[in-house]
Symmetry: C2
Subunit: 212 residues, 2 copies
């Protein structure tokens, strides 16, 4: 019997190290696939369609939602973001885990969906607000108003921390990376993640009945 993959949801306020840690997790296990979000916001310089995001227009996005082709979606700062369902369904049927870099709204929608029993949800907290602000400011090009808006949104995200199974304070990237690996490794040892055990126990039963 084949294992179905996990839906690994990684949420955090912007600036808490989520993207770095997502990359590191995939470097550790290249079998983990990223769920590439669809969005209606324009591509920024350097962003690649299909890798960073699927860039789509409003009409296409709304049609996908209507046709239930999105696992979750949200409206943020005037743009739509959503996780296309098809690649996720395909991946988990093949036994591959899928990593979602989404916010609490998306996490809640997936945790209420038919795939809820396959969700592993992890939230990253920043060590402090000044540190979070410093990381946002160090990105350079944004003015104080944009920073203030981002900070407000960061707090909104943080305030939903307790809707997640696992919560890590990211005060050290290496340590947090180790914790993420530990969590994923442990979750894969759940009985529900090892359907082949049914065959193993069947073999044990045969051996037992044959008096082996």
């Amino acid at each position: 019997m084949k294992r179905r993959g996990l839906l690994i949801i990684l949420s955090s306020p912007s600036g808490a190290g989520k993207s770095t840690l997502a990359r590191r997790l995939r470097d550790w296990d290249p079998g983990i696939r990223f769920s590439v979000s669809a969005t209606t916001r324009p591509a920024r310089e350097g962003e690649v369609d299909g890798t960073d995001y699927h860039f789509v227009d409003d009409v296409r996005f709304k049609r996908m939602v209507k046709d239930k082709e999105m696992l979750e979606h949200a409206h943020v700062f005037g743009n739509f973001y959503g996780s296309p369902a098809a690649p996720v369904r395909e991946a988990i049927e093949e036994g591959a885990d899928v990593l979602f870099d989404i916010d609490w709204q998306g996490a809640q929608q997936i945790q209420k969906s038919a795939l809820a029993s396959h969700v592993l949800s992890i939230f990253l907290l920043p060590p402090s607000i000044p540190e979070l602000r410093a990381r946002l400011e160090s990105r350079g090009q944004d003015g104080p108003e944009v920073i203030a808006r981002r900070m407000q949104r960061s707090w909104d995200e943080i305030s939903h921390w307790d809707g997640y199974s696992y919560v890590l304070v990211n005060d050290d990237l290496d340590r947090t990376e180790g914790q993420l690996r530990t969590i994923v490794t442990a979750e894969r040892l759940r009985a529900s993640q090892q359907p082949w055990l049914v065959d193993h126990v069947r073999t044990l039963q045969t051996e037992f009945e044959e008096g082996a």
Copy 2:
């Protein structure tokens, strides 16, 4: 806020390496306490009262059950076995994890008790029945009838493997030990196991509101 300890239930058929792994887990983290079972069976040579078991008579055992001083209890091969509740309650209030070396009947009782939300249940499967039989036989002193009875009981135990959260096939002690460590480490990263995060988030909120 203080963490409450986990009830780590380790079950397996006799001969699957459970005692060795329990000892190794405590060598790794000496903070883990063993739940010492009470039993009405006579002490075997070398067994120490209060360390291997609490050896009690039938009257005392039944009184403890009646007074709800047992978290779980079972009747096996003519003797009673049970886990005294008081040391467990004390340990988890102090934030210490408690390891239970008990069978599926005991595991089910604890998983239905008021402490169910603190249970981490792990089952060890043997790689094969011949290997399990060989380990039982290698202990020496038992005749074929006793071995047959033990094998029957082992199969009874194995047949309840799917009532556990985590299941490991113990075909390599070092590997299984590593998996046990991983599971315990991950479970301690659950939001519910880190109550101090409530204080951390409160601090973040204060920092945010003060515009830090």
